[in-house]
Point group: C2
Chain length 427, copies 2
């Protein structure tokens, strides 16, 4: 399929191009960006999208999700984290079946498509059903079968993950499996070592929660018999590609222990606030040259999968806690949600920016709205004022998955009803 | 005009009613709530609004704005506060004329109506043009002519304010003038005392910025020759109704100095973050029985006038900085943006909740959307997932100012163009 996007204002996020280009065309052919130039010929195109006055930018990359948790949206209020997990979430998760996971994932995919996300990195279980839903909607997925062993059933999880890896090994770039370790407070040393072995065997990166809150660090100390959980990163994951969600409780003086790791940090500001974990000072990571991407976490803690909201929280929180309005310019935050996300997922040669030869993951945004006018700074506008509903069209891998806010082939209200019936059954 | 809202799910915020009521009707007559009950008769109604499956709640009250600053949206990125004011904002403000103020205010009114705000409390100048725009759109306004005298031209400002007070003294409840003191770092003792006199003369409350950042407190110390700016509140404003925006830099141990004041705090979390001021620990105010409402501040610092966004920041920040997920339940935050706002503006007998006899300021919200389904907790849904575009209908004083997201009689795109041309001229 050959798609021509006519006359857009382009934020390509490519280092080779200007930061902002007006009235330019983008030609997509067979899933990839073929040409970017003024006045491209629309002959032989299957589809022409008029993007006059609209902004085209890379699709957002949400690097930390648990998408079947859409059905647990808004169940946290008034609970502490442990209480919420023990009394509400885990008993319900025990009752989930493959059909539940499929529909809950479908709802999340709709949410992501309608808020401009084109790729995400998920950690959950019954992963095949998550992938099924994702592929039906056209989104790009990185995922795993989450590993942990403190409850004793580690073996089965490893088996499921290795099956997934083999099943999708030769699949196209729309599905990538990684090795998901839940955390160092739910995985023994033996489990972690086995996970690292698996990652080495298939040359995969490791995706793990780390330093989300103070309690977690205490539990790690006990389980791994250490006084310094931060040292375990070097001990267990030397030379591995490591993607760590949260990193709220890493102290400035510990930064030097992270520098020698192949590390990306997935910043999840909304979830970290909601769970009362605190605020990660990502300024420190950035100053230490560590790649920082953005995640929403699951809807149970993160409320929604809205990356525009998470970008705004990212930008605002750092200015606030460091009492410096000049920190984290808007352009840098867009980079975190696109280029840096792609880097975290080891796909920066393929996605994250709009460049000739890269895969066509992009979104079209309408800025002619009451909350985005007048436009004084295009990047600030995107970070602080654009809402999910400003996204009009979403394209993944050269496929139009939403056009003029309509997702073809899916009856959204049916999915809402299905999800409502699931949560009613579980509760 | 007689309007019947049929079959809504009601969050009335009235202490006399249940927190949430399903499938109920609300009858509005001549600007006021006439009846709330099941199956009301629709005979003799001029208009019936079917609100099946939709939520009706009080219109949001934005207690701190500078609405002509819509045109300065997104001008802050990369600047420090003082630099931004000195180099960008003040030179542009000097060139503003009444027409600019009118159109810039109109844009803000559109923004507020479309995001569910029905009443706001503004501080700026050329206030007559702000009121003109507001009344044309149907919103309810509290406002002032901001007073300050360190630049020497205090007299003229007092004259303008007293004229405003007299002009609108006998006006209906849609326009209320208060005494706006810019701040204690821009007003001498003499200016403050004169403002207090004026407030006493007309029995008005005082609206002032206070303790927004550390630099301000240093400047107050110098100008007012004191070591404790907090003590000036008691000294200057004893027995006055006082509404203070920001209050970021008030320490826990200073709380006891606030208790004897007739004080409301206007929490502006987004602006406070964006300007690098910090995060007000409003938990402390609430625990000390101080009324806390929510404001967006102007778009220059606050990005937009989206009260749904500011409610979410309010709820999330307190949990995050206090590391306690149980703090500030969603219902309490809705209260801050409705009932507490009305209290701050001394109008809690007339607005802030949906009760028989109160003025009909209310909004209709659609929750059947990808980011709000499934609905596990209605109050959390409203705080964390509802976006401006979920508001379908806005009613102020019994007048439908927006229906199905359409504001009748205003060409929104013309206003955007007008505002763009203003900022181009000023820059």
């Amino acid at each position: 399929m050959r798609i021509l996007i006519k006359n857009c204002n382009l934020i390509s996020m490519s280092e080779k191009r200007k930061k902002y280009e007006e009235a330019i065309d983008v030609l997509i052919d067979n899933g990839k960006i073929k040409k970017i130039d003024k006045n491209l010929n629309q002959q032989n195109c299957d589809k022409v999208i008029d993007a006059t006055n609209k902004v085209v930018m890379p699709g957002l990359i949400n690097t930390h999700t648990h998408i079947p948790m859409s059905i647990f949206r808004d169940t946290l209020d008034g609970y502490g984290l442990q209480e919420w997990l023990n009394d509400k979430i885990w008993p319900m998760e025990d009752k989930l079946n493959e059909g539940d996971i499929y529909y809950a994932s479908l709802l999340s995919c709709i949410e992501m498509i309608k808020s401009g996300t084109t790729c995400f990195n998920d950690q959950y279980f019954m992963t095949d059903s998550i992938i099924k839903a994702t592929l039906e909607t056209g989104l790009r997925i990185h995922c795993t079968r989450t590993l942990m062993d403190i409850n004793g059933d580690g073996e089965e999880k490893f088996k499921e993950l290795e099956e997934l890896i083999n099943k999708y090994a030769k699949y196209n770039d729309n599905v990538k499996i990684n090795v998901g370790i839940h955390s160092l407070y739910t995985c023994t040393k033996q489990c972690v070592e086995k996970a690292v072995e698996l990652a080495k065997k298939y040359n995969l990166y490791i995706h793990m929660h780390f330093a989300e809150n103070s309690k977690e660090l205490e539990d790690i100390k006990e389980l791994h018999n250490t006084n310094a959980p931060i040292d375990l990163l070097q001990e267990y994951f030397k030379d591995m590609d490591l993607v760590l969600a949260h990193c709220v409780k890493i102290k400035p003086e510990e930064m030097n222990k992270l520098k020698n790791l192949n590390l990306s940090v997935e910043h999840c500001p909304v979830s970290n606030l909601k769970l009362g974990c605190g605020i990660a000072n990502i300024k420190d990571f950035i100053e230490n040259g560590i790649n920082v991407s953005i995640g929403t976490d699951g809807q149970g803690s993160g409320n929604n999968l809205d990356m525009f909201s998470s970008m705004a929280y990212t930008a605002l929180l750092q200015k606030g806690i460091n009492e410096d309005a000049r920190l984290l310019p808007a352009y840098d935050v867009i980079k975190m949600a696109t280029v840096n996300g792609a880097k975290a997922l080891k796909m920066d040669d393929k996605i994250g920016s709009i460049e000739v030869g890269k895969q066509a993951d992009l979104i079209v945004i309408d800025l002619e709205t009451e909350m985005t006018e007048p436009i004084n700074d295009i990047f600030s506008n995107i970070i602080y004022n654009v809402k999910a509903n400003n996204v009009v069209t979403t394209i993944v891998n050269g496929r139009i998955v939403m056009e003029d806010r309509e997702i073809k082939g899916i009856n959204e209200k049916d999915i809402y009803k299905k999800c409502t019936s699931i949560i009613k059954r579980l509760a």
